[in-house]
Structure formats: structure tokens, C-alpha cells
Subunit: 450 residues, 2 copies
């Protein structure tokens, strides 16, 4: 009987062909493009593995592919998504986004890094286990959604409606991951929460000649004044009561963060800035990046913004704001505090428009089994310690599927710093792909054992 490694080697070309098949199928949720076809492909691949599968419809959305295989005292939940980002701008791709191509050891295609390679290699790793090691020592459940790239608007409802499928899992392997610039494998154990809103200010019943500005209120000024009360130049969020809901990192999280490599000068050069906010460097920068909440002006508009001058008094101004949240903040609390804060300062005219539910903060205990198993798996696979991130700086629907049900989660995957997720020439390194398959074997082994 072949070893796991021999089996993978013997099936190397087929595994890559399967990845080509997955990535040549467009599946753009934002454009409702190829979604059913992709869900069918994923269903078929899981069935071929021998998993029990179900296509669970989502009202006004794209279905969840659910799968189960194996048995044992432990249950590992796997979360991936079969939708990808839109491919535009097309002209910046060296090879077309839906025509996968391997060049210089890199596999180029839209969605290969985010998240089709991890979705598929996890299945191929289990196939290789079954072919070489026999029965699985645990139960594996898949939740493969089709709406991650549009903000997972229905994942919360899916969990509410299908709680029995998910609850009781002992740990979750989350969708994404990469090696860092030093080739260290990264393990991400949480995500910031997020709430995205718009603030609107309205003035006269139409845009006016700016000669009227001495007596008719300008909503752009109202918005500027209101915004200036939300955050100060020391980057402190000054919304009344905001800091009361911020739990600082615990000792395990701080210790993990202290091991995150961060070359301040390199990072400054990468962003093209002279210094970071408040001049933070090294560990101070890491703590600020991962453990502090943010409020970001993502978009701002009022009046005439074309070429040349137009002396107009606008009648409307708006801002798009995202709030990135840390424990114990919630989207609901942010909206509540913001409304009170604005009202207390006379900005009752500033409207808050909330178009998305937002996402809750997700943090997994760093001493949980899934995190420990992932660390051991990384050590066995890559021969070095993984860098453990208590949280990413970004957000995602991890809480809805995992922490909400008491399931700790860790994210790890086959990307690298130049994978260009969401951008033209998205790619992974082929060698990382096959190391990723080994990592899954080690994760199963270690997680089942603990």
C-alpha cells in the first residue's frame, strides 16, 4: 500500500487538473454568474469522495453545499466558499482569469487563492487519507457557501435554520491562509467585526448658487462637523461610551502577537508612507493593527467634484464608514452609541443608513484544541513554528458559523504574500498547494488525537 505522500505524488497531475476544472468555471456571486454550475461541481466532487452531501437552498441567494464523512469522537467543521470575486479589470490579467495557467511554478486563475485551492485540496487530502491510511479518525462536516464575496448575507440565517448540522463540532478549519514573507505558515484565530453604514446630511430642496451660503445651511459642513466629533487626530474614537466596550487582548493573545514578525521600515515602504499613525513601530504597530477598533471613511461625497470650479451650495452630502470591531463591541452597540452621540451634539439631522447586518467579532481561545492541532500540523508539515495571529485585521462571517455556537476556529491555507486575492493575476504557488494537502493530513491526525 502506498504512503500518503506516494499517493499524492501519483495523483499530482489529476489533482491539478481538478483545480483547473474548478477555476475554469466562473462563479461570481456579485454577478450571479455560474453559481449553480459551480455548486454542482462541488457537490459532485464531494460525492466522488464518498461524502454524504446535500445542496441546501438559500432564499434569494446561492445554495450551501453541505457534506459529511467519517466518524469518531471528534467532529471537524470545514468552512470554504465556492464563489469568487469578479474578474475585472480584465485587461490587467496576463492570462485570462477563467483559463487557468501554470507559469514558473505558479497557478494563475480567478479564485484559485480565494478560495478554490483550499476548498479542493482539503477534499483531495481526505481522499489521499482514505486511500492510504484507511478510515478517518473523526467526523468531518463541510459548510461550503456561495456568498462569501458578497458579505455572506445569508450565512447567519443558514445557521439558524440548520443549527443541528453545525452545532457540537469541536473545531472549525476556516477558509483562508497563507505563508508570510518569511515563509512562515500563518494561523489566523479570529476576525474583527464590522459594521458598514452611510451618514447622510440634507440641505435645501435643490443645489443652490453658493451666493446663498451665508444663510442656507450647507449639509457638507454639517457632515464634516459631525465626522470631526467621531475620531480625533490622535486616532482615538471619541464616540461617547465607545471605549467602554473594548476588551483589551488577554495574555495569550499578547504573547502570540509578540511573535508576529513585523519589519516596520519594510511595511512603511510597502505602503509608501513615512510613518504609521501616532508613529507606532514594531510591537506597538502590531498591537494597534490587531487589537484596536477603527472607524474608516471609505467614501465621501458632496456637490460638484468634476474638473474646474463650480460655485454650488450642495443640498446633500454623505459618507460611507466602516467600523472594525474588537471584543466586546457589536454592530448593534455601535449604531446605538453613534446615534446617541450625534443626537447629544445636535446632529439629529444626520441620518444613519445601515444597509448590511454587519459581522460580529470572532476570537478563538489560543489554547483550544483546533489551534493547538493546527500548530502541531504546521510544525510537522513545514518544519517550523507557525505564526499565530489572535485575529486578522479584516473581517468575515466566522462568528456566525463558529463562535456563536461555541466552536473555536482557525484559518490556514495555501496562499503566499503575492497571491493577489481580489486582484488581477490571482495565483498560488503549486508547491504550497501540495504542502497544503500534507497540512490537512497532519491537522486531522493531531486534532483527532487531542
Amino acid at each position: 500500500m502506498a504512503t500518503f505522500a506516494e499517493y499524492v505524488e501519483a495523483n499530482r497531475e489529476r489533482f491539478l487538473e481538478e483545480l483547473k476544472d474548478f477555476t475554469s468555471q466562473p462563479s461570481v456571486a456579485a454577478q450571479a454568474w455560474g453559481m449553480q454550475e459551480m455548486a454542482d461541481k462541488v457537490m459532485a466532487r464531494l460525492s466522488k469522495l464518498g461524502a454524504k452531501t446535500r445542496l441546501i437552498p438559500v432564499e434569494d441567494g446561492f445554495p450551501v453545499v453541505y457534506g459529511e464523512i467519517g466518524d469518531g469522537p471528534k467532529t471537524l467543521l470545514i468552512y470554504d466558499h465556492y464563489d469568487v470575486q469578479p474578474p475585472e479589470p480584465l485587461e490587467l490579467w496576463t492570462s485570462p482569469p477563467w483559463e487557468p495557467e501554470i507559469r514558473d511554478g505558479k497557478f494563475y486563475a480567478r479564485g484559485v487563492a480565494d478560495n478554490k485551492s483550499d476548498l479542493l485540496l482539503r477534499i483531495q487530502a481526505i481522499e489521499s487519507w482514505l486511500a492510504t491510511e484507511g478510515e478517518l479518525p473523526l467526523k468531518i462536516k463541510w459548510v461550503l457557501e456561495g456568498e462569501e464575496e458578497i458579505g455572506s448575507p445569508n450565512l447567519g440565517k443558514f445557521v439558524a435554520d440548520n443549527r443541528e448540522l453545525v452545532q457540537g463540532a469541536d473545531g472549525c478549519l476556516w477558509e483562508f491562509g497563507a505563508k508570510d514573507a518569511h515563509e512562515n505558515p500563518m494561523l489566523i484565530c479570529g476576525l474583527k467585526g464590522i459594521i458598514y453604514i452611510e451618514l447622510h446630511a440634507h440641505g435645501a430642496n435643490r443645489d443652490l448658487h453658493s451666493g446663498a451660503a451665508s444663510i442656507v445651511e450647507n449639509p457638507a459642513w454639517r457632515l464634516v462637523w459631525a465626522l470631526a466629533t467621531l475620531k480625533n487626530e490622535r486616532d482615538e474614537i471619541t464616540i461617547d461610551g465607545y471605549s467602554e466596550f473594548v476588551r483589551p487582548p488577554n495574555e495569550l493573545e499578547l504573547e502570540a502577537a509578540s511573535k508576529i514578525p513585523f519589519d516596520t521600515n519594510l511595511e512603511l515602504a510597502k505602503f509608501g508612507v513615512k510613518e504609521f499613525i501616532n508613529g507606532v513601530r514594531d510591537f506597538e504597530a502590531i498591537k494597534k493593527l490587531y487589537f484596536t477598533p477603527t472607524v474608516t471613511i471609505c467614501g465621501l461625497h458632496s456637490g460638484y467634484t468634476g474638473p474646474g470650479g463650480k460655485t454650488v451650495l450642495p443640498n446633500h452630502a454623505f459618507v460611507k464608514l466602516d467600523f472594525r470591531l474588537v471584543p466586546e463591541q457589536t454592530p448593534e452597540k455601535v449604531i446605538e452609541l453613534l446615534r446617541k452621540h450625534l443626537d447629544a451634539r445636535g446632529f439629529t439631522d444626520i441620518q444613519i443608513e445601515r444597509t448590511e447586518a454587519g459581522e460580529h467579532v470572532a476570537r478563538s481561545p489560543l489554547d483550544s484544541n483546533i489551534v493547538q492541532a493546527a500548530k502541531a500540523a504546521a510544525r510537522a508539515t513545514y518544519g517550523r513554528e507557525a505564526v499565530v495571529y489572535p485575529t486578522a485585521a479584516g473581517s468575515g462571517p466566522m462568528y456566525e458559523l463558529c463562535q456563536q455556537l461555541g466552536i473555536p476556529a482557525v484559518s490556514a491555507g495555501a496562499g503566499y504574500p503575492d497571491s493577489r486575492g481580489h486582484a488581477p493575476n490571482e495565483n498560488i504557488r503549486v508547491a504550497d498547494y501540495f504542502e497544503g494537502i500534507t497540512f490537512i493530513r497532519e491537522l486531522i491526525r493531531n486534532f483527532a488525537r487531542n
Copy 2:
């Protein structure tokens, strides 16, 4: 020999045909459309009158039509412009903008109100004078420019290069004017100055994922904070030293302003607002409108402003600001104070972009001959007192041509409140046009006499 009134009546149809000829000729400076053709028409009409004319070229611009006629101890300067606003949006015109049409006693065409009717009726009034009253009792000089609607970028240079043509005039009849909502003729004796600038803030070398917002500065926040230091919620301009250069209105100006009709509730309803800034009403509103400087956010932009959410940390933000000036402010002083103000608060990163020279404040003494003559002419023409505005709330190049050379100016014309200058369905009332011809006769008579 016919009287003036009989002559005008006998030539009524021809006068309107000439106005149709003028307004059927596009002359859009912003689109460099029909400018030479229009200048030629104006030259021909002045020549037909018997004036000495010159077409004075403007480097990288449209020529000034200069004319002279008559003689006497006094010289009256007439300023008009033969360029008009672009006609767009075309679909909102009832009759096409370049196909003049009289409906219900109103003459519709692009540019008829601003400013071809006044340009032409002043010539026709002088023709009527010559045909019925004999020699002119004064000298008349015309400066008819082709760039008013694009901000008169070359008028200052024209004056500097042709000072001998203009200086020594005893008064100037400025281009525009209208009856107010109560059918009172309005006389405008000044204009606010203006300086239009952009402020730019720059961040990282590209737009970033907003996860980076805890450490990478957001130029949109920088701009918001900088703007919030320029004006407060009581509408006070808080730029260091700004108020020191504001001369309050004198007694004559205040007395004139006290006679400006202003129905607060009607004005509030017109703009669709519940109250004016600081709750001002009646005379307080008039004083605020005409005698206080403003700084207006005309346009504001950063990041993503399309539909839906995009979690982006923008790398650029800008604002378009206009400052309306009152005596003794100047465009140069505003820029100087603003730069110092921003620097003093650490906003050395905020760039000031000045793309236009700006316009100086213009005020004519209310007891000057030209203002007094216009008041008498209005009384004789309309049988009622004119409303004398020490200044308009808007701006224009009056200072460059007049006050700079010590020439007092007054603006009066054939418009009415629904003339829709700069907008679709621009129009004047035909009756106002012919009253305007009478007003010119009375102005010449009274101005020559004083």
C-alpha cells in the same frame, strides 16, 4: 420728428428680430462654440450704430469688442458679455435653446437673460436716442467681453494692457439686473469677491483594504479634521486672523440694505428649509446675506462613492471650496491666512491648489453719480423707487474693470425672478425688454446732467 417712444414702437419688430438673430447664434465660451461669429455680429451691430469699434484680441482667449460713440464732459462705460452658458441639459428645454421663441409674452433662448438682451437693448436705446433726440450728451464706451461665463480669466490683463481705453470713465453700467418679485427694479452696486480653491490630502501609495486603517493614515480623516477648523457650527469662519480683514457695512449701505424687501417665510419656503443659519430672519438675514464672508464646501470627494459597500482605505481626498469676500478681503490674503492657519495646526500635509486668480470685492459708493443717475432713471421709467443693493451675494469681475480704476459701477437689466439664467428655458419678458430701452435713455439723460 418722432419721439423716442414712437421710434421704439415703430421699430419694435426689428428690435426683436435683432434679438432673435443674436440669440440664435451659439456663443459658448466653455465649449469654444461660435465665439468668433458672435463677436463679428456684435462688431457689425455697433458699426451700424455709428460707433467706432475695435476687436481686441485676447491671448489664448476670446476677443474683447471695444466701441466708442458720442462726446461730452462725461464718459459712461458699458460692460456686457457676448458669451453665454452651455445649453445643457437640452432635454429640459421646451423650445430649443438656439431657436428663440416668444410664448405668452416671454422670449425664450439661451443667453437672452444673461446677457444678450441687455447687451443689445443698450445699443438699440442709443440708436433710438440718435434718431429722435440728436447728439449724445456724453461719451459712451463699450467693453464687451467673451469670457464672463468662464470667470473672465483675461479681463484683468485686458485692463492692464488697455488702461487708456477705460480709465477716466465717470461711471459704469454693469451687465446684469432684474426686477424683483414685487416688480421693483433692482440696482446692484457691488459684488462679493471670490477665491475658489481645492484642498488635497494624500495617504498611502494606493487605496488599501480598510483593515490597515489602524496604522495607515486616512487622508479623508485628515481633510475632515482640517476643514472642521475653518468654520464652526455658529457659521463663524475660524481661520486665524480672518475677521481682522472684514470691514463692516457703512451707514449708507446699511440704510440701503434696510430697504431690501425680504419675506423670510417666503424665502424659507423657496429653499425648502425650516430656518436660516443661526435662525436669522428679516433684516438680520439681509445683513448676513450681503455683508458677511462665506466659505462654502462646493464639492467633496474621497474613496468609493458608488452603490453598496466597499471597505477601502482611500489614498486621496479633496474638497472644492469657494470663499466669498467682503471689503477689505482679497484672494491673496485668504490664501496666505489659510496656509498659515493650516500649518499652525499641523496640517502641513494639506495642499492648497489655486487654479483661478479669483475676483476682488467690488463696491461703488452709494452716493456716486452713476448710482444716483440709475435711481432717477428707474423712478422715471418704472414710476417707483429702485431697490438699491450695496452688493450682490454673488461675484464677478467688476473690480477689475471699474473700482480698480476708481470707476463706480451700477448693474441694472431686463431680467425678472423667473429668468432662469444658466438654466433651461432661460427667458425674459418682452415688456421688460422695452422698458429696459427707456431706462437707458433716462440713465443717459440723468448721468449726463449730474
